[in-house]
């Protein structure tokens, strides 16, 4: 038996013994565990499962053991993932700390920063949020203006962030701030601070689709200890760019996940338009539905091809922008088509006259409009494709 086989056997045995059966079922969104100072465990078993995984460092399997990680090799981490998928184990802990800040700290953090923050992320003790966009800095993120002044023994932060997801629930924030007004990209730094600091206020944003996890976050004379700046002063853009790439792929996935919560277009069409011998009665909409389903099909095949090419080492670069662009635009088209098929039935806001799937279709239609804005607008993605993939000049 190879070491990997051995690891797989051990892992499987441990998971089978330790993962409660209830934690091997599909997870409703509201049972996700986010950790943090006010951690909640809506499903009682989720705390058990969370604590057992924390104990092995498997909330962050590849992080070093000294920081609360599992110390696994990349290959072992894949085995763990496969075994968890095989059993249907739930992800024990979610958060921007795990997916975004952690990797950055491992790469750019000082030894003290790593020692301070990584174990708390791994153990789900601190929940993080991301402070990037500002009212005046959206597509042009590098024009951000949140001011961070050196006041000798501390930094003084003033300004406003927007679209800070879950800021009202987060304990700490990692944040892009302006430390030099003389340079654009070269005047940005990457700062960490406690959301409980005096002068921090987070207000949830109501979207056209209703309540959201997004916040406006205001900083008024927030005092931040000097050692909470990550990487070099004025070199935050390097970190920001790495994280943006990551975010782009995530949003494209989220778009698809959201889309998946309502029935597929052909099912909606059959429900509202009726069918004869299995064919949607309205031939014009049937053609539109076919076009949409076929584009979805071709898009899924393209995702698979890209993955296979990537494994075979033949991946063409810049494809993440293509996937973000096409996936989000396609998701918007999906809901417009659902509206066309379902008529007034997909235009209900709340209350009587609609079933749950109809109300969800309406809200999700509205929410889908944001997919082509967040994480880099469609226009930005097209710019990126034109430049990086097609080599067209600026």
């Amino acid at each position: 038996m190879t070491t990997e086989d051995e690891f797989r056997a051990d892992t499987r045995a441990w998971l089978e013994a330790q993962c409660p059966l209830s934690m091997r079922t599909p997870m409703p969104e509201d049972e996700r565990v986010w950790g943090g100072r006010h951690a909640s465990f809506r499903h009682p078993d989720s705390r058990v499962w969370f604590e057992r995984m924390v104990g092995r460092g498997w909330t962050v399997p590849t992080w070093p053991r000294e920081y609360g990680g599992g110390g696994l090799s990349a290959a072992e981490a894949i085995v763990l993932k496969e075994e968890m998928q095989r059993l249907g184990c739930r992800t024990p802990l979610f958060g921007f700390g795990i997916s975004m800040l952690g990797p950055v700290l491992l790469k750019y953090g000082s030894p003290a920063q790593k020692a301070e923050h990584l174990p708390k992320i791994a153990r789900g003790e601190i929940r993080w949020c991301q402070g990037y966009s500002e009212p005046g800095a959206g597509s042009d993120l590098a024009s951000l203006q949140t001011k961070c002044e050196d006041r000798g023994d501390h930094w003084l932060v003033n300004g406003q962030k927007v679209w800070t997801s879950y800021a009202h629930l987060a304990d700490w924030i990692f944040c892009l701030v302006r430390t030099d007004t003389g340079a654009k990209h070269g005047g940005i730094s990457f700062l960490l601070f406690d959301m409980a600091s005096a002068g921090v206020e987070a207000r949830p944003i109501k979207l056209i689709s209703g309540a959201s996890a997004f916040c406006e976050t205001f900083f008024t004379n927030v005092r931040v200890p000097k050692d909470q700046l990550v990487g070099r002063l004025n070199d935050g853009w390097t970190i920001a760019k790495e994280l943006l790439q990551h975010e782009r792929g995530m949003i494209s996935e989220i778009g698809r996940a959201i889309g998946a919560t309502v029935p597929s277009v052909d099912v909606v069409a059959q429900r509202y338009l009726g069918d004869v011998d299995g064919r949607i009665v309205d031939p014009v909409l049937r053609d539109a539905v076919a076009r949409h389903v076929m584009d979805d099909h071709a898009f899924q095949l393209t995702l698979r091809r890209a993955a296979e090419e990537s494994e075979a080492g033949a991946a063409s670069g810049g494809l993440s922008s293509m996937f973000k662009y096409y996936g989000t635009e396609q998701n918007k088209r999906k809901f417009e088509l659902i509206l066309k098929c379902a008529g007034h039935a997909a235009l209900g806001w709340e209350g009587a006259g609609f079933d749950e799937s109809e109300l969800l279709a309406c809200r999700t239609w509205l929410r889908s409009k944001g997919n082509s804005i967040e994480g880099g607008t469609s226009e930005i993605q097209l710019n990126v494709i034109a430049k990086r993939v097609l080599g067209l000049p600026d």
């Binding site: 966009s133 009212p135 005046g136 959206g138 597509s139 042009d140 024009s143 927007v162 679209w163 944003i205 109501k206 979207l207 056209i208 209703g210 509202y272 309205d282 014009v284 909409l285 918007k332 417009e336 509206l339 066309k340 379902a342 008529g343 007034h344 039935a345 997909a346 235009l347 209900g348 806001w349 709340e350 209350g351 009587a352 006259g353 609609f354 309406c362 509205l366 409009k369 944001g370 082509s372 804005i373 967040e374 607008t377 469609s378 226009e379 097209l382």
Partner: protein
């Protein structure tokens, strides 16, 4: 045919713009929504509109109306569309008024047109029974019993259904669903026993209700026109509804476009106004073309309706179809070009998106009207 507004129409337009921007701006709809107003419109404002003669635009002067015609009403609706104004204009002034004025009995006209024009009486047309516009599918049945009509069935998404004093019900008195033959129009008082009205909350925060008729009994004078011929009476009125609604949609789309244009000039990214980016410029120019085409179609339809020309039906379908497609294009682009701010409830632009989709579905979407246009054209 005249494709320019005459003096009377221009004055109406100016008065309407003034009224809606000051008295019923977008904020008024927002307030109705946020306070969960039971009526869904501002009764005081409606009285003022009636005083201006707008409730009775399509009511003959002999019955107390102002008789400005469809082209006149179109100007008012367009300006109301610019501020997303909620009011009984569509259900009462645009639809019920011409239906009663053309097809009502003398007794019905004497009893109803005066109060209608005065803004004292509200009406609703109960037509569709499913989520998509389909008059021929009418299944609600009115049966003759002891010389009276007894109604049984449901009507859905009835505009102003829960605030109307009188419901004009499209009922099947002969034939079966799928045919426009055998329909009759019946006036049912809102408080008739057996009529259950449930307000329905749509995404545009306007006023619609589902109606259920359980053995609702009305006497013979409730019949509008001859029995079984209701669709022939209704069709030209629906053409008017399409043209008028298209005017409202044009106003909304034009306003959403104008606001987006302002934003493109204002919003700076990468050191320049985003309206200087060529891709956005081209899309804006393409929207302008669609708006201009829609404007022409709407105006032509309104004028043809007033002249009762043969091509009025064709032009009404043209106007509604173009308005639907343009509203969809412009409302989507408006949100996208506003970026993140366009996604917030605090910004008005999303309200234009929401209203656009409901209006698109009312009285037939673009596909419905393309099929109708083709049939009328003989292909």
């Amino acid at each position: 045919m005249s494709m320019v507004l005459n003096d009377e129409q221009r004055m109406l337009q100016a008065a309407a713009r003034d009224f809606f921007t000051t008295r019923l701006p977008v904020g008024a709809l927002r307030r109705l929504r946020d306070t969960q107003d039971a009526d869904g419109f501002d009764r005081a404002a409606w009285r003022e509109m009636a005083d201006l003669g707008w409730a009775g635009v399509l009511v003959p002067e002999a019955h107390g109306g102002s008789d400005f015609g469809y082209a006149g009403l179109g100007q008012i609706l367009e300006e109301g569309g610019r501020t997303l104004a909620a009011s009984p204009l569509v259900a009462t002034a645009l639809i019920a008024a011409p239906l009663l004025a053309r097809a009502g009995t003398a007794a019905q006209q004497d009893r109803l047109l005066g109060p209608l024009a005065a803004g004292e009486r509200l009406f609703a047309l109960a037509l569709d029974e499913g989520p998509r516009h389909a008059p021929a599918q009418t299944a609600l049945r009115a049966t003759g019993v002891d010389g009276a009509w007894v109604l049984n069935g449901v009507k859905r998404f009835v505009l102003d259904g829960h605030v109307a004093d009188e419901i004009i019900v499209v009922a099947r008195t002969a034939g079966s669903p799928g045919s426009t033959d055998g329909l009759s129009l019946l006036l049912v008082p809102a408080n008739a026993p057996g009529l259950v009205r449930t307000r329905v909350s749509l995404v545009d925060s306007r006023n619609v209700a589902d109606l259920e008729f359980r053995d609702v009994r009305v006497e013979p004078p409730a019949l509008i026109g001859a029995p079984h011929t209701g669709y022939a009476l209704l069709e030209p009125v629906l053409d008017g509804a399409c043209a008028g609604l298209a005017a409202e949609m044009l106003g909304s789309a034009q306003e959403a476009f104008d606001r987006t244009l302002d934003y493109l000039k204002l919003r700076q990214q990468f050191g320049v106004a985003i309206g200087s980016f060529q891709a956005l410029k081209h899309r804006a120019a393409q929207m302008l073309c669609e708006l201009e085409l829609t404007r022409s179609a709407v105006l032509a339809a309104l004028v043809a309706l007033d002249a009762r020309r043969d091509d009025a039906a064709l032009l009404a379908s043209l106007a509604k179809a173009k308005a639907c497609d343009t509203a969809e294009l412009v409302s989507n682009e408006a949100v996208q070009m506003h970026g993140g701010i366009g996604m917030t409830d605090a910004a008005d632009i999303g309200l234009f998106l929401k209203r656009a989709r409901v209006a698109q579905q009312s009285f037939g979407d673009a596909g419905f009207h393309r099929a109708r246009y083709a049939r009328l054209k003989g292909f």
